[in-house]
Amino acid sequence: MEIPYTAQPRKDTGLYNAKVGIWLFLASEVMLFGGLFSAYILLRVGATPGTWVHGLLNIPIGTFNTAVLITSSVTVVLSWAALKVGNFGRYRFYQAITILCALGFLGIKSFEYREKFSHYEVWLNQPVTVTRGGQEVQTDRLLGHIEYQGHHPAFWSTKTLAEKQVESFKFTPDPIHYKMTPKEMAHARKTAAGRKAEEFEFKAADVKRLSAFVPGHSTYFALYFTLTALHALHVLGGAVVIFYIWGPGAKMWKTDPERYTNRVEVSGLFWHFVDLVWIFLFPVLYLL
């Protein structure tokens, strides 16, 4: 039995069935991401002033990844347009770029994650004196990197110090802390540029709490990892589908080119949705 309306539009909807299906699916996706966005905004607006984590993400990397996704959206459309005029070779070329962009995005994102997992906040029992914005300040909370036995460990916590029986570790603090305003952060970063970073040797007994930038660190990182990991899963899923249609599924082009073109359109619609989510995620998580 033949599946109806794979290429020709239904009279009642005016669309082929897969297009109706993908839009219903995307509507559910809007609700999923919409709920998470709402959670982020409400938690941020309701946070006690000075406690919300901000200014810790790498903006140049985020910007580059945004450009990668915008490029991939353009190549998805160009590949679909190439099929519309019957140019299969050009379709393959553009879709290969799309797949490369998807892999590039995921690679860069994993690099970003790795950097966060080896970046720490330490809460101390006694305040120490550090230089921030050219001034010496007393603080019991520092952001920075750990060095232990010549390594920069990831995923350490207060518990790890006890489990590994760590007596002391080196800590290189950042010139900033998220309690500072964006203006103070910019000043502190500029003042610290080119200067040798300070270094501390902390005893495990001096540490009240230690946490890497993992979901358990704060509400911000919990939401950051939930939103970006969910988005990355969508990128991976989209890339797998696009690859299947591009590779093993391409034989349909010979038997049913119209249906094949519709498949490419449907995967392109999903891809555009994934990219549009990032267009909202980037400013919310990286800039605001």
Binding site: I59, S73, L287
Partner: protein, 69 residues
């Protein structure tokens, strides 16, 4: 909504982001602690925003015969 229509929505959103990011970066540059990097991002982002609008116009022209549905 066809891929054509969604692409137009996406490119409009992307160019809005590029302009917004450009202004954000230039404001950061014009502050007392602005960095050259902020200026580069600002100018680059505004140029990308403009480029996306030009591309959108070209795309609309090229796909005149493709349905929005």
């Amino acid at each position: 909504m066809s891929l054509k229509a969604f692409h137009i929505v996406f490119i409009t959103a992307a160019s809005a982001l590029a302009f917004g990011f450009g202004v954000w970066s230039l404001r950061a540059y014009s502050s007392a602690d602005g960095l050259t990097q902020d200026l580069c991002f600002g100018v680059g982002s505004l140029a990308v925003g403009l480029g996306l609008l030009v591309y959108e116009r070209y795309f609309l022209k090229k796909t005149r015969n493709v349905s929005y549905l």
